[in-house]
C-alpha cells in the first residue's frame, strides 16, 4: 500500500513537472484549408480541395478549381501537396482508463463481478492522460472508452481527445453495453492437477443460458413497477428500447452465430461483433443480419499455428468484400499506447487487399456509423464537425504520417505532448554541447 502511495505522489509531482497541453479554445475565426488532397472518409477523394469551417462546422468542401469562394476574413492554410483526413476514431478503446500498465494504482480498467452493465467508463476517463495526448500527432482524435472484464463488462461512452475533463470530452454518453461471449474453449484447472490445455468448454451452454436469464430478468424488471431499484437491470433498458448499442466480444464462428441469434431473439437491434477473428467465415450471415464488426487488432499473430501468416492482416478485406460494415479495434497487450498506430493498422490492411480509401473508412466513417455519431463525425461533409487533420503525406503510412494541423470541432489542437517536449529538451541539450 505504502508503495502505491509513493507512486501516486510521484505521479502527481511529475505531472506538475510536465503539465499537459492546454485544450484548445473554441473556433473564433473561420478557417480555410486550400489545395490539399481531401480524403472524405466515405471512399471519395478530392484532389485539389477547398475546405472551410466556421464555429466548428464544415461550411464548404469541394474541388478548389471549381468552387468560387472568397476566403477573405478567413485564416487560410495552404495545404497544397498535403492531405486532409477526418479525425481517426478508436473503436473499443480504453484510453484514459489506465496510465501505466504495471502500476495498479493507475488502472481503472475493470470492475469486480460478472454482470456489470451499470458500470460506466466515462466517469473514470482521464482527459489529461499523457497517453491520450500522444494520439493527436498521429491524427487519432476521438474514440470509445470501454471497460473490460466480466461477462457484461459495462457501459462505454465516446469522447474526443482534447478536453479539460470527461464532461468536456464526451461526444456521446453511455453509447453501448459490452459483453464477453462465453468461450468455446476453456482450460483445465491445472492447480487441481487437470490438463491445462485448451479443451472444448463444457459449460458453454450453461453460460449462454445464464446470459439469457440475465437479459430476461432485465426485461421483466424494466416492464414492472420497479418498487425496489435494481441498478444493473435498469441500465439494460437502453438495449431493448434501441437507445444503447450492444457490443459482443467473440471470435469463433459458432460463438458469433450464437451471439447474433441470441441478440435477435432478445429484440436487440443494434449489435456489433468485437474481435471477430473467424467472422470472415460467415461474412454473408453477418451481412444478411446487418451485423457490423469491430475487427481485432491487425498487428497480431495468427491464433493458430496452421493459419496463414498474414491472416490478421487480411481479415478486413474478406469482410469488406462481403459488404459487412467493419471498423478496426486495438484491444490487446499495450493497447492504449499503441492506439496511435490505428492508421497503420489500416495501412497494413491496404498491403493485404483493401484500397487506401476503403481502409480509411475502417477508422473514420464506419466506426462513426456503428457507434451512431456519423451525423457529426467520421466524414468531411458539409454541416458536420470540423474534426480533421492535415498530414504532409499519406497518413496510413508511418513514413508520411506527419501531422501539421489538427482540429476537433474546429478548435485547433496543440500537437505538443510530453514526448515532443522531451524530444525538444534533449535535442536542445546536445545542441548546446555542439
Amino acid at each position: 500500500m505504502k508503495n502505491y502511495i509513493y507512486i501516486i505522489a510521484f505521479l502527481l509531482v511529475s505531472s506538475i513537472g510536465y503539465a499537459q497541453q492546454t485544450p484548445a479554445s473554441k473556433q473564433s475565426k473561420d478557417i480555410a484549408i486550400v489545395g490539399a488532397t481531401a480524403h472524405i472518409g466515405n471512399g471519395e477523394v478530392i484532389e485539389n480541395s477547398l475546405i472551410t469551417f466556421s464555429n466548428g462546422k464544415i461550411t464548404n468542401i469541394g474541388d478548389a478549381t471549381v468552387m468560387k469562394l472568397s476566403t477573405v476574413n478567413m485564416e487560410v492554410i495552404d495545404a497544397s501537396g498535403k492531405h486532409v483526413y477526418p479525425g481517426f476514431i478508436v473503436s473499443n478503446g480504453t484510453l484514459g482508463l489506465v496510465e501505466v500498465d504495471a502500476v495498479k494504482a493507475s488502472s481503472d480498467l475493470s470492475e469486480m463481478g460478472t454482470f456489470n452493465p451499470h458500470i460506466r467508463s466515462l466517469i473514470a476517463y482521464n482527459a489529461e492522460s499523457k497517453i491520450v495526448e500522444s494520439m493527436r500527432p498521429n491524427g487519432v482524435l476521438l474514440g470509445q472508452v470501454v471497460p473490460r472484464g466480466g461477462r457484461i463488462t459495462g457501459t462505454s461512452s465516446i469522447v474526443q481527445y482534447d478536453a479539460w475533463n470527461w464532461e468536456d470530452a464526451v461526444i456521446k454518453v453511455d453509447d453501448g453495453i459490452h459483453i464477453n461471449w462465453p468461450n468455446s474453449f476453456s482450460r483445465g484447472r491445472w492447480w487441481l492437477g487437470e490438463d491445462a490445455a485448451l479443451k472444448p468448454n463444457k459449460d458453454y451452454n450453461k453460460q449462454v443460458k445464464e446470459l439469457e436469464m440475465y437479459f430476461n430478468e432485465s426485461k421483466s424488471y424494466n416492464a414492472g413497477p420497479k418498487d425496489e431499484r435494481h441498478l444493473p437491470f435498469e441500465s439494460m433498458a437502453g438495449l431493448f428500447n434501441g437507445s444503447k448499442h450492444l457490443y459482443v466480444n467473440v471470435n469463433d464462428q459458432k460463438g458469433i452465430t450464437d451471439a447474433v441469434n441470441f441478440t435477435k431473439s432478445q429484440g436487440v437491434s443494434n449489435i456489433t461483433i468485437v474481435g471477430g477473428y473467424e467472422a470472415g467465415e460467415i461474412a454473408d450471415f453477418l451481412k444478411q443480419n446487418n451485423v457490423s464488426v469491430f475487427l481485432r487488432r491487425v498487428h497480431t499473430r495468427p491464433n493458430n499455428e496452421d493459419d496463414d501468416y498474414d491472416l490478421p492482416y487480411k481479415l478486413a478485406k474478406k469482410l469488406v468484400d462481403a459488404g459487412v460494415l467493419v471498423s478496426l479495434e486495438p484491444s490487446g497487450q499495450m493497447e492504449r499506447m499503441n492506439s496511435r498506430n490505428l492508421p497503420f493498422y489500416a495501412g497494413t490492411a491496404v498491403a493485404h487487399g483493401l484500397t487506401k480509401e476503403q481502409a480509411l473508412q475502417l477508422i473514420t466513417q464506419n466506426p462513426a456509423k456503428i457507434m451512431g455519431i456519423d451525423n457529426m463525425y467520421g466524414t468531411l461533409e458539409h454541416g458536420k464537425s470540423a474534426t480533421l487533420f492535415i498530414s504532409k503525406g499519406d497518413a496510413l503510412d508511418m513514413r508520411t504520417n506527419i501531422v501539421t494541423h489538427a482540429f476537433i470541432d474546429g478548435r485547433q489542437l496543440s500537437l505538443e505532448t510530453h514526448q515532443t517536449k522531451l524530444w525538444k529538451r534533449y535535442s536542445e541539450k546536445y545542441n548546446q554541447q555542439d
Binding site: 490445455a197 499455428e305 496452421d306 501468416y309 498506430n341 498491403a351 508511418m398 513514413r399 514526448q419 546536445y430
Partner: protein, 989 residues
Amino acid sequence: MIKAYLRLLVFLCSFSLFAQDYFPSNSGVKANNSNYMAFTNAKIHVSPTEVITSGTLLIKDGKVVSVGKSINIPKNTTKIDLSGKSIYPSFIDLHTTFGVAEPKRGGNGPQYAASRSGFYWNDHIMPEQDVMASFKYDAKSASEMHKLGFGVVNTHNPDGIARGTGALIALNNDADNSLRVVDGETTQNFSFKKSVKSRQSYPSSIMGSMALLRQMYDDAKWYAAGNVNTKDLSLEALNGNKNLLQIFEVGSRLDLMRADKVGDAQNIQYTIVGGGDEYERIDEVKSSNAAIILPIDFQMAYDVENPFLASTLSLSDMRSWNQEPHNPRLLAENGVKFALTTHGLKSKKSFKTNLMKAIESGLSKEKALEALTTIPANLLGKSDVLGTLKTGSYANFLITSGDVFDKKTKLYENWVQGMQHVIRNMNVKDIDGDYEFKLAGNDYKLNISGSASKPKAKLESGDNSLGTKMSYSGDWVNLTFTTTDSYKKEYIRVAANAANGNNLSGKATLPNGSEYSFYANRTADSNADKKDKSDSKKSGDSPFMSPVTYPNIAYGYTNKPKAETLLFKNATVWTNESEGVLENTDVLIKDGKIAKIGKDLTDRSAKVIDAKGKHITAGIIDEHSHIGAASINEGGHNSSAEVTIEDVLDDEDIDIYRNLAGGVTSIQILHGSANPIGGRSAVIKLKWGESADNYIYDNTPKFIKFALGENVKQSRSRTNSRFPQSRMGVEQVFMDYFSRAKAYDDAKKSGKPYRKDTEMEVLAEILNGERFISCHSYVQSEINMLMKVAERFNFKINTFTHILEGYKVADKMADHGVGGSTFSDWWAYKYEVNDAIPYNAAIMHNAGVVTAINSDDAEMSRRLNQEAAKSVKYGGINEEDAWKFVTLNPAKLLHLDDRVGSLKVGKDADVVLWTDHPLSIYSKAEKTIIEGVTYFDLEKDKQMRDAIKKEKSELINLMLQDKNKGLKTQPVKKKEKKLLNCDSMDSGY
C-alpha cells in the same frame, strides 16, 4: 487334476525358495526341493533369433538348466506338456517406478538456499537417493505387469534432476525381497525436472537444469581429486555410481538431444528415456548414439465430429496421432537401439494395444521382442541371466497360445524366477457347441459360446427363449435359467461336469426343490465363424503415414530447400554501403554469397528473377528476440551466466517462419531480464527446416544478457526475498560478480588448480573482451551506472537494449562506445518507461550512437521494416539511415557486419525481395533468402496453405474412421504457443 497338482508344486517350490540356507527355520523341517521341471513340446523362443519348434525347457531353482529339442531330463523331473503352445522369455521394463510411492510436494514460496546439509548445494541433485530405501514390493502392480508379459522391471525414484540409483526387481509374487531384488543398484537416473519435494528456486528453466548438471559433474571431479575439505554425500554417490547404467528421462526429441549434449561433454553416454517423437529428426537422434528407452504412449484419435471444434486442431497434433505409431519402426530401420517401456502410459493396459499398433505400422516382431528382452538385458549388462532362455538364465518366461505379438494370442502363464503366475487357465476345456437335453418332460436346446474366456449360454425350449446365466470353472458348468412359464419368476439350477467326453452330466434342481439327474448331449461343435470384424480389413499394407516435414508442423518442408544461383534483374537495390540505393540494378547470388551487383549482369547457371518495380535489401536483423527458444529466463539466481539459450533452441516454432515472412534473416535470442546477470545468447539465422544446432552462426559471436531496473529488483513480485531489491543493490551485484570473476581469472591464469565454475568462466570472458554484453535498460541513472562499472573493470558495454532513456545520456553512450537497440514507440507499460519517447532512436543516432530498432516481440518482429519507418516520422531520420536501424546497425552491434547487414560482394546472401519500398507499410516480403537458400517465398507459401488444408482433411477422415470403428477418442485441443518475452518464465519448472 493337472492344475491342482501344479498348485501343490508351486507351493513346494516357493517353500524351497524361501528357505535360505543360513536363516533359522521354526516352521517345520528344512525341506529343500531339488526337483526339476520340464516344459515339453512347446515352441520355444529361446531368444528373438533362436526358435526351437517342439522343444523342452528344463528349469530348476528358478534358473534355466537347459533348453533344446532333445535334452537330458533327470528322473526327478515334473513334466508339463505344452503341445501347441509357445514359450517366450518374459519382458523387461527398464523405466518404472514400481514399488515407489509418488513423491510428496513440499512447501510454498520461493526459496533460494538449500534445505539440506552434508549434501550438494542444490536440493534437486540427489544422487545419494537409493531407491531401495523406500521400496515396497507391490504385488498388485506386479500382477498388472504380469498380464502385459513383464517379468523384471527396473525401478527408480521419479523425482529430481539427479535422482539416485535404481534397482532391478523380479516380479515374483511368491518370494520376498531377498530373492526378488535381482540387483539393488543398477542405474543412476537423471532428468531435467526439479524435485517436487523442495521449493529451492534454482533451476527454474531447462537451460538452468543443463547448466546445473554440468556444474555438478565439474564439482564431482574437483571433489574426487580431494580438493574439498568438507563432506558432500551427493557428490560421493555420484562418483561412486558412475559405472552403473546412466539413464536420463526426457519427454521429447529436443530434450533428448539436450541430454545427450550434456552427457557428451562429460564422456557419459546416457541411455535416454525418449519422447516418442524421435522419428521427426531420426538422423539427428541416431547421431546421438544413445540407446533409447522408448515409451509407446500413442495418442487416441481426436473427436473431430464437430467441425467448429475440429477446425482448431493443429496439423502438428493431428500428425502426432498419425505418425507416432511408426516411431518404433523408423528407429529400428535406422539402426537405433531401443528398449520398450510402459513409462508414459496413462493406463498400462494400453501397452499391448499400442505395441500391436507399432507392429501394424511395420515394426518387425523380432525387433519388438528384442526391445522387450535382449536389449534391456544387454543395457543392464545382464545378458547372461536375463532376456533369453539360455542355460543359466532366470526362468523368466511366458507361456502363450501362439505368437506373442498376435492380437488373438492368449497369455496363459508368466513364470518369474521359476515361479508360476497364472494369467489364464490354459487347461480349460473348450465346451462351445450346441446341446440338447430333457428335463421334467420339456425339451431344451442349449448353445454355449466363449467357454475359454467369457462363457455365455443361450437356451430355448419349444418357441420360448429362456433367460439364462452360466458360469464355467474347474470343469463344472453352473447354469441357472427361468422356467417356460414367464409370468412366474422361478428358476431351475443345473450343475454339470464337462470332464468326460462331449457331454455335460450332473444334476438339476427344480423350483420346487426336487432334484433330477441332468444329461446334455452335444449335437454340434461351435461354428467358429463370424466376429473379429475389426480384423476383416487386413493385411500386409501398413497404415497410411503422413509425410514428416522439416520441421514437422504446418509450413515445414518435405525436402529441405537448397542454395541456388539466383539473378535478380532490374531491382531497386538498397546496398547499405556508400553506393546507397541503386535503381534498375541486378544482383547475382552464388554459392550462398552475394557474387555481383551491377547493371546487365548475366549468369548461365542462374535462375533469373524479374524484380522490376521491386526492392532488394539485406535481410532484417533483430537484435532482441525471444522466438525459437524453449525457455527464456533462469530466474532461480540473481546471476545466471552459466546458462545459454543455445541449449534450448526450438526448431519447430512457427514464429520463425512468420518472421521470415516479415523479411527477418538473423536474430539474437536473448535471455530474459529476470536477473542482473542473465544468460548467454543464441545468435542465429532463421534456417527454417534445419535442426536446432544448425541455426547457430558458425564462429558465432559471444553475447550475454544483463538487465537493470524493475524486473531485476522484482518490483512486481509479492515476496522480497531475493537480492537486489533496488537499483543500488543492482550495482553491487555487478561489483561483486566482476570482482570475483577477476580473482577467478587471475587464479586460473596463475596455473594453480582451481574449481571450474562456468559462471565465473563466462564473466571472465567479458573481462577479457571475448564476450559482449547486451543490457536491458530503461532509465538514465542505471544506464550511466553500468557504463561506470564496466569502466572500472576496463571493458565496454557492447549494447544497451530497450534503452528507452538513452536519449538522455546519448552523449555519454557515444563516449563509452556503446550501441543502443531500442523500441520504436513502446512506452507506458511500466513505471520506468514513463519518459520513453519515439524520438529516442533519432536522438541517439544523431549523437553518434550505433542505433538499432528491435522487437522483443514475436508479432512486432514480423514488421520491423515498419518500425524502422517510424524513425522517419519521429525525428526525421533519412530513409537510408532508418533502414540501417534494422539491418546494418544491428549487424554491427552483433559483430556480424563483416558477414551480413548490407549488400556487398562477398557477404552472405541474406537478402529480401520486397514488393514495394521496404519502409512502406504497403510493402510485403516476397522472398526471404539466407545464404542463397530461399526460406520464404510468397508463391510457395500459397501452395503450402493448400497442402495443409488437404492433409488436414485426410487426417480428419482417418480419425472419423477410428471413431466409427468404436475406438476411443480424446477431445479436441487447441495448440498454444506461449508468447515469450523478457519476463517469461518456464512453466512446469
